[in-house]
Symmetry: C2
Subunit: 166 residues, 2 copies
């Protein structure tokens, strides 16, 4: 599943046992996720370690020296012909605005395209806190497909974005 | 989690080892689900048997004599304050239009209300095949909240319905 023979500079595809803790710390450090969500992020790493590709979760990690700088997690959308989901994208807050998120997303998109994927779906939230997140995805040509009002909580909508590949 | 001391006439909450096969056969017999989806339906029964309530999946079964007449599967929606999802609802095609689906949904709604749930989410498809399904949910006061175009396949939208409890 690597593109052009490798995941690109500073990126790593293989998941290691240490990633569960690193991902948990990174996701928590962003300040965007609840304790429950941090738990889910860790759980997906554990699932991948336990079941490999059969887990349905693909990962790519960006590293700055020894440190985890960011990561993305994605997989095929069950029940669809050619849909894929980006489940997680997080970048160390000390390293944000440095292009790491874009690098990760470009890698994810290339992998999905190489696997014959057609649509890339991702979800984010409608609160002000997430305005930079929404702007980030819009810059990468994701478009808002649907809004589920008061989904997470009253006044906290879920937004569903999609990018239709070629 | 039972309401008024029991799940109602002809309904059973406890999941047994035999349910995995019965659910698979029932879901397949409806003609509404792909082989992959049948596999998912079975997997959720297995998850419940293995992990109990911690699986996040609740079940109710309707029985006609010894036979499985229909079932529903639901659970709390992760990351939300008071959302719940109805993951599966299926009725033996030979017994449809007999009120079993409504009986199951009423039970599910009562259980969710008793657990303090606020919103009930469910997904269905936009194809003509699903017109009776959509009409069924609309009769039960579910409203269309979002449409994901070409989600399952080109020309095959995903529809997201919600019912907001009190």
């Amino acid at each position: 599943m690597t593109v052009n023979g490798g995941p690109g500079p500073g990126l790593r595809r293989a998941v290691t046992a240490a990633d569960e803790a690193s991902v948990g710390e990174l996701v928590q450090a962003t300040g965007f996720f609840s304790a429950e969500e941090v738990g889910i992020a860790r759980e997906l790493v554990r699932g991948r370690l336990q079941f490999g590709a059969a887990s349905g979760y693909e990962f790519v990690f960006a590293e700055a020296g020894e440190r985890l700088a960011g990561y993305a997690c994605w997989g095929r959308t069950e029940q669809t012909v050619c849909g894929w989901d980006v489940y997680w994208l997080a970048v160390d807050p000390r390293l944000q605005r440095g292009g790491i998120g874009t690098l990760l997303m470009r890698h994810v998109e290339a992998e999905i395209a190489a696997a014959g994927g057609g649509d890339i779906w991702l979800e984010t939230a409608g609160r002000d806190l997430y305005a930079p997140t929404r702007a980030f995805y819009e810059r990468l040509d994701y478009t808002l497909e649907a809004r589920l009002r008061d989904y997470y909580a009253v006044g906290d909508d879920k937004l569903i974005y999609v990018k239709r590949l070629g």
